[in-house]
Symmetry: C2
Subunit: 394 residues, 2 copies
């Protein structure tokens, strides 16, 4: 019988998707170059040429049976070892290949990490503002997502509310730093305090509380910003990574879970993940992509355009009077809307062909998100539209 639960989900239409569709339709009328489409968080710079060259070389030279053969569902052993070595070098960790579980992007990583440490009925905490997919990611495992209200002054963590919500029912805490949609990077102070509270509660409740750290924007951090590696501060940590943004290959679905070597059952979590796989239909990420990313672990696409765009937008928006916390990374900025109803503001912005996402979808009211992963030239042309919009409003 057709399962009603998934049928019902078809009713809810993503606000981001609707805005993106509006932008495309408007683009057909006036030319897409004239639509200031800040709706979607898709990388706007190409994959490094080294990756492409390597793929071609492997296709030309490698035995196709080996190249396209099954990898273990854990990932190809040599790839896992290289990921571990790269993380150790960069973040002073002690991973071995056994602590790495290769996945089809961060979504796959989170799906496995959640199932490893939470069961139906458990609670999983996240912090507003948050990536709206966390709702279905968590709730479809049978656990329940609880959202800690935002600290809108800094978009760091509202610790008072967090401590209150961190009850005995909580199995895991899901963070995302650098953050979508705020662009904020959690400071060392924030991560330390988070770890301290979680450790106290673990002791108090007598059970593990896992930190699931969603890090697809880890490599997009702006100059001078303090960007600690969360797992280094809390033993029961599962880091979920994706190469989608750092290497600009979101369609190729490649990422991993990195299991902190000091966490409970550290040595079996990746093999537990491969058991979980048998239910979720994950077998392994694509072999050729695994092999290729393993050779470019310390490269990124040219991510500098995002910082350039952020600086332009931050300066113009604040000088126009928008309240805004300066992003420390990602390709998002999250200013306060000049009226309480962010959706109404987003509607007004459309008149100037500015496509901005109202914040309600991220669990906060009265803000809007700009995804500035677009050409700098277009960002500059959009400033006039912001000026006109503000003129209309005041």
């Amino acid at each position: 019988m057709i399962v009603q639960k998934y049928k019902d989900m078809l009713q809810g239409k993503s606000v981001i998707r609707q805005l993106s569709e509006f932008a495309t339709a408007r683009g057909k009328e006036i030319g897409y170059e004239n639509v200031f489409d800040y709706s979607l968080g898709n990388p706007s710079v190409p994959v490094p040429q080294e990756f492409t060259d390597l793929m071609i070389k492997m296709l030309q030279e490698k035995d196709p049976m080996e190249l396209h053969g099954y990898s273990q569902s854990l990932g190809i052993p040599s790839v896992r070892e290289k990921v571990a070595a790269s993380l150790n070098k960069r973040f002073g960790m002690n991973y071995t290949g056994n602590h790495i579980f290769m996945t089809t992007g961060a979504a796959g990583a989170i799906a496995h990490a959640l199932r490893c440490v939470s069961e139906p009925g458990d609670e999983v905490i996240t912090f507003a503002p948050y990536f709206p997919e966390y709702g279905p990611y968590v709730n479809l495992t049978g656990a329940k997502l609880k959202v800690v209200p935002a600290d809108t002054k800094s978009f760091q963590i509202n610790f008072e509310a967090f401590e209150e919500m961190l009850t005995e029912k909580v199995a895991a805490v899901l963070i995302n730093t650098p953050n979508n949609p705020s662009g904020i990077v959690y400071s060392t102070e924030t991560i330390k305090k988070l770890a301290q509270i979680m450790e106290e509660k673990q002791k108090k409740y007598g059970h593990d509380i896992f930190l699931i750290s969603d890090e697809p924007y880890r490599e997009i951090v702006f100059e001078g910003v303090d960007a600690p590696y969360p797992s280094a501060f809390y033993d029961n940590s599962l880091s979920c990574y994706s190469f989608s943004k750092s290497l600009s290959l979101p369609g190729e679905r490649i990422g991993y879970v990195a299991v902190n070597p000091k966490c409970t059952d550290a040595d079996i979590i990746s093999v537990m993940c491969s058991q979980i796989s048998r239910g979720t239909g994950h077998n392994c990420p694509p072999s050729i992509i695994q092999l290729a990313v393993a050779e470019v672990l310390d490269l990124t696409a040219d991510l500098s355009v995002y910082e350039t765009n952020m600086n332009i937008l931050y300066q113009e928006l604040t000088s126009l009077g928008f309240e805004c916390v300066r992003p420390g990374g990602t390709f998002y900025i999250f200013p306060k809307a000049p009226e309480a109803d962010a959706a109404a503001f987003s509607e007004k912005a459309k008149k100037y062909d500015l496509i901005v996402v109202p914040s309600d979808t991220f669990g906060v009211e009265g803000y809007f998100r700009l995804a500035y992963c677009i050409d700098t030239e277009k960002v500059e042309r959009s400033l006039g539209a912001f000026r006109k919009l503000m003129k209309e409003m005041y």
Copy 2:
């Protein structure tokens, strides 16, 4: 907290995996060329050169932003349309792109199909002998796998037992033809009778019963064998396909669900699948692989070696006195063991460096499986070992 269920699963060790590890270890002692390793069902012929050339061309010529960009979680629209057109041409169906949901191989396809039409507590029926992964595939969704005992005369379907087990609790029936491990292809007569019984029971119970057809071996069918396309005979059908075996790229994880256009809610099942994805962490199969397979839908690797190997083995084994149903496809053969205890027989075979999988793991006692996806030269050399083994036994 670490979830005990998945931890417990680590205790059960796959018999096939153990045999494969034994073969590798033995190969280190005597040279792998001297181990007649029939344990693993991995393709033994390379991907068509056209696929490799196409991949290289795309990498050289396509805009990397487009090539590696997000596909919809349903799959790239042009790819879905091409898959539909190819199936229509070959099997006289009426699919449109909307009926195709691209997945990471057959495992991903089955994971989505199962969740679409069965809920925790429902029963899903399959037929012995069966692929042992069906256990976790089904049971980890919360549904319960029920196995219809084998018809060991023909390895078609034991309809008497099936009718008895097809109670009101059954949400779906999972078939695999051509079959792993028997190598048997369900005849048109079998599929028609299966469809007729399921239709009667649907009427009787007043609810849909879905046919989930797992078809990774669809393209490996031997000369003169009747190999009907199951979905053409039963409207409520979801066909689960993988390119792993037909194109010899099991590691690249590419396949699809094809939703029969006449089934209940046919037009929304693929979008329901993309809702299911949000929980399982599937976002889309790798973009570049989607684009490449879409251009070689009507090609296969050179699969003729499998039929050659089957003919050699079938003739020798039957002339040695093994009872054996002649395979119609795949790269498996499933003879009766000359003693009731198939595991004991598999142990004896090891003495002659013959690695064969006892049938208990496939839900039948007293048989063994040979995966003859190995070089023909090795198959020929193995015949002497079979002869010696039988001499020891009689």
